[in-house]
Subunit: 505 residues, 2 copies
Amino acid sequence: MTNGRNSNRLRLVRAHIDTSQQPVVFMHRDCGVCRAEGFSAMARVLVRAGRRQVVATLNVVFDERFGHDVAALSEAAWNALDPEPEAMGSFSHAEPPGSSGALRAKVFGQRLDEAQFQHLMRDAVDNRLSDVELAAFVTACAGDRLDIAETIALTRAMVAVGERIEWDSGPVYDKHCVGGLPGNRTTPIVVALVAAAGYRMPKTSSRAITSPAGSADTMETMTTVALDLAAMRRVVEREGGCLVWGGTVCLSPADDVLIRVEKPLDFDSDGQLVASVLSKKVAAGSTHVLIDMPIGPTAKVRSAAAADLLEARLLATARAVGLEARVLRTDGTQPVGQGIGPALEARDVLRVLRGDPLAPLDLRERALDLAGHLLALASGIALTQARARARELLDDGSALRKFMAICQAQGGFREPLLADCRHPVLAHREGRVLAIDNRRLARVAKLAGAPGSPEAGVDLRRRLGQAVHAGELLFEIHARTEGELQYALDYTLAHPSIVAVGDSP
Amino acid sequence: MTNGRNSNRLRLVRAHIDTSQQPVVFMHRDCGVCRAEGFSAMARVLVRAGRRQVVATLNVVFDERFGHDVAALSEAAWNALDPEPEAMGSFSHAEPPGSSGALRAKVFGQRLDEAQFQHLMRDAVDNRLSDVELAAFVTACAGDRLDIAETIALTRAMVAVGERIEWDSGPVYDKHCVGGLPGNRTTPIVVALVAAAGYRMPKTSSRAITSPAGSADTMETMTTVALDLAAMRRVVEREGGCLVWGGTVCLSPADDVLIRVEKPLDFDSDGQLVASVLSKKVAAGSTHVLIDMPIGPTAKVRSAAAADLLEARLLATARAVGLEARVLRTDGTQPVGQGIGPALEARDVLRVLRGDPLAPLDLRERALDLAGHLLALASGIALTQARARARELLDDGSALRKFMAICQAQGGFREPLLADCRHPVLAHREGRVLAIDNRRLARVAKLAGAPGSPEAGVDLRRRLGQAVHAGELLFEIHARTEGELQYALDYTLAHPSIVAVGDSP
């Protein structure tokens, strides 16, 4: 072999190119490494520097101004390797991931066991699976292609490849909404209520997957959410609750990797949803979890039959992984609150906590329902009593004080900023609001820039059944830029019955 | 709207970056377009220039040397737009592809109709589907998730979105091998024989999908294969046959797009395989097609049961799209010929055509079997007579003359060049060759660089059942570079029984 020690090495430089979470390496077509290794464009390349390594996708440069002695790394690759100044990297073909046999088996409809799922999730977390492979995995698990035993195995596998928080003994409460209902931002209110009642509720939330905002996106408009585990623990020790982003504390990091492809594909499935939710709860050290399951024709869960299936899968999986879970079915026929989008939802949350006369009543009531169930679960008292206690804590300002204290502990509170670019969408006729299309409304908010632009979204001004006159405001679109406002508006014009007005039946 | 006419425009420059078939656009984080449109990294961006457009993935640059007034295009994006010098491009968010509803339906297990498949294939050909979406589609169709009616619909959809060759009336013969058998390079010999017998066989072939070489890769080591339709027609009119790459003539271009993700995933499925093969045949204007189906434990078709299913699907689909098809089941227990890899297989083909004493007998016999079946089909004479006629045409040099004439008509013949870097793999013990692992042998050839490096591959020197002594040559690895040779060798050392030698049973 003439392949000497240094023929596969290049100096690592920062490309100053953002490719989101996908590591990319740029090399000259005629550099020693491309020649020696026979690399071609889009090859999966293993890059080693010091004691770190990353698998990156190769982009082949043939601009002569680009050095033959360097490899330029995209931000994701640069951050993964974190190289010393002037560090050399060594390059080789990335072997197919060890879990490719398991992936292939799942794609062709075989059942996988926990060890196979763990192999896949380990490779996902270590960035050894390309987006194409992740998309194949997510698709192979879609619909009813994961049975309950596999859902349990996947949940355990996702827990196993991440960190796990150990709390002092005693119950740890948690909640989750299965989503699909724009604006359903009860979490900050519920956490404030439960913590104000003296129970422990260290809430980690995700960012939006396919929706215009996740709880973490909303909280981020008011305080810092990217806390590490030690910081999160300090907040909870002091205040009994926290409202942080789960990504930073490395709970079920495999989930964050899967979300990377679920987001552009705009779908997730029952099995993956259950594994995603419950792995986060187990990893967060929760003992009791209340699940808000909105049901409606354009919500994520569309029928009682679908709810039955999902609830059975959730409860069976929770039991298997040692969680006490309850499912609360809620109305999913229309959005909750007025705002859809991070800052607009934060505004609604603050209005409820502050007892503002403009507070959306439905958001307030739903938060009280959820908090009531959690307080009943925690204290053993009857649900009606527990709900009354929650209302007391909200109305006497205890929940607001607790919320502010949590934000303070997380790094300080700030008022969410709303958008300057706004456009009203008016009723074309007189009548009543007969239907609201949650999915299309969420799409408008996303086209307007949510959650990437936190101030973007939709401010919904009418509820189901309300009477409207022609020319009255149905909703207002908020955006950071006129360009995004225009996209959202174009879509709205193309779908005139997102808020359907007609004669009452 | 303050969004003026020019705020979403940038000057287009060539990035001189090869990202294979994936269009990528590089823009500065602070350029007017990123600000106005609220683009973030990996966004799907619609780029328009003149009358052309392409959907590209956004890489966000924050190197200050990169202009704020330009957008740099990867080769795939540059070629798709083919902009005038100094041309301006306009940029907007790419709408989700119109076929995303159909994709979602298939992912969740619903059956699709021809219109839905056509929408998907049109979007695939127009580059409106990202690799992640293509991977989801391919996975959603894997295993038995496409039924026969869907296979027929997908086949028709793939034909519909590409060009279709119309030949003068009369039969047009074709062949196809379902693959999985390294070195089974009968096509050039069969085409030469059928054309030498006076029948029409305009053969379009694909490049390798998951194998170390496709017929197009092999032919390319001897002549030009990237002919457009007019050139191909001239060759066939003059010589009765041709051996060209199907990609250039735009037959079933959707197939080439799907292959882009099937290749890194290293799988295809029965439904997709049938649609891929038969859509190419229909588009090529073929009327009669002979399908070589090797069966063996490490071939693509592993059992008679699997062959039954695939054959039923092939014949039903062929009938539905108006093709007369025959399936010939062949021995798939070991590679055919000696060479595995484009140039090594070309060498074997030439040895058979030239009657070289070193010609692999099995390749010769299999080519004669296939040609015999086609001649019987074409002339109506009995199979034994037809096969004898084929042997005559091979032995009297007619096939060689026809092959050379076809190469000449395609642009000239050249001898395939073999690799300089070679490494022998020897038997560790005395015994007989008990098994040959086709898949691992193909993997060795691919690690050695095939088909990207046409001279790379494996030269197999022993057949099943042959006696060997310790230290005798089992196979030789060929590579363009020492680095690639080393990969292939490392893999071979890790899998010592790719050619298994043991005591005869």
